[in-house]
Symmetry: C2
Subunit: 201 residues, 2 copies
């Protein structure tokens, strides 16, 4: 809401100032919640700690975002778009590029911690479930599009989840990330497997 | 430690009784911690709640297992062996069978919650990291053995993590589980992909 000439320093300006303040608080808390989540993990996302990092009082946080999953929602708000590889039109190169970006998002932006916090709450809190859906769909969109040109149905679903799994499973299960050779092998196996003879009948 | 004839009702018996009591407490708390973790998720694994479920005082729990990851370690102790499909010798049938068992462990025993709690702590707490390694190795051992007969190196690693990913990724990313057709497709893609022409040279 912006002020009009006839309302200088009047109600219009007050509302505009109030809006700006609320929206700045929101952006600060959102960014702080994401920083805490990715740097320290979900355990650290408490009202006291996020308030301290954001530079607001604990009371302010409890007033606007009373539960811990409200804080998770704020963190997810700050994520923005998932990083993507620039498409070249070559399926193999583009899939490898996307998996490298996914791996980088885990190592540099701790996307694994975000995914696990979302998994923990996504099933029971509708709003988190919807945000998770949006973030995952965004993350998988290029992989799904590339595979969608050569497969459909269960083959498409299996291939997309397996390629995600090639990156996220080592992180989840062993706390490691796949090396380049393993990512190459994953893409080669999936592409050759999707073109298996019985599928081309 | 067991009593000796010469020490009836003496120190030996006292120590034996004490050992039995400690070991019963340990088993009760271990089972309660696992129940809380799988039924209610990691958020619910607190000293107060596990003590209530196990029927012990909060003080007893804090004395023996002072931190929350001590409670996680207790829960992991109670897991026992991972369920496995009975091997038939047919690679396709055995891989499909193993993925069905993995899916059932997620839906019935909430293995996904166990994996996520381990992922959260496994990186920073050595003991949890070791227990995770043991549980994951046990879970993947048959899949790794079957794939190991037709592949090695990056192909083997990629295939094993992708097959795990076909089951765990939908749970992690969408809160769903793959249907039979998607599991079949995953196994067919991987088996055909591993036998791709350039690999047989």
């Amino acid at each position: 809401m912006s002020s009009t000439p006839g309302a200088r320093n009047g109600i219009g300006d007050q509302i505009a100032a109030e809006d700006a303040r609320v929206s700045r608080t929101r952006a600060d808390v959102s960014r702080a919640a994401l920083d805490v989540l990715t740097n320290e993990g979900w355990e650290a996302v408490t009202h006291a700690h996020v308030a301290r990092v954001a530079g607001y009082s604990k009371t302010t946080l409890y007033t606007h975002w009373p539960s811990r999953f409200d804080l998770l929602g704020m963190a997810l708000d700050a994520i923005g778009d998932m990083p993507h590889h620039e498409m070249t039109g070559d399926a193999r190169a583009d899939l490898v590029g996307e998996l490298h970006e996914f791996r980088r998002a885990i190592s540099e932006r701790r996307l694994d911690r975000i995914l696990m916090a979302m998994a923990q709450w996504g099933a029971s809190v509708d709003e988190i479930g919807r945000m998770r859906q949006r973030i995952v769909d965004d993350g998988q969109q290029y992989t799904r599009r590339i595979i969608g040109e050569i497969a459909s149905g269960p083959d498409l679903d299996a291939a997309v989840t397996m390629l995600s799994g090639a990156v996220i499973c080592p992180a989840l299960m062993y706390g490691t990330l796949p090396d380049d050779a393993t990512i190459d092998a994953a893409v080669d196996i999936v592409l050759a497997g999707l073109r298996r003879p019985e599928q081309q009948a």
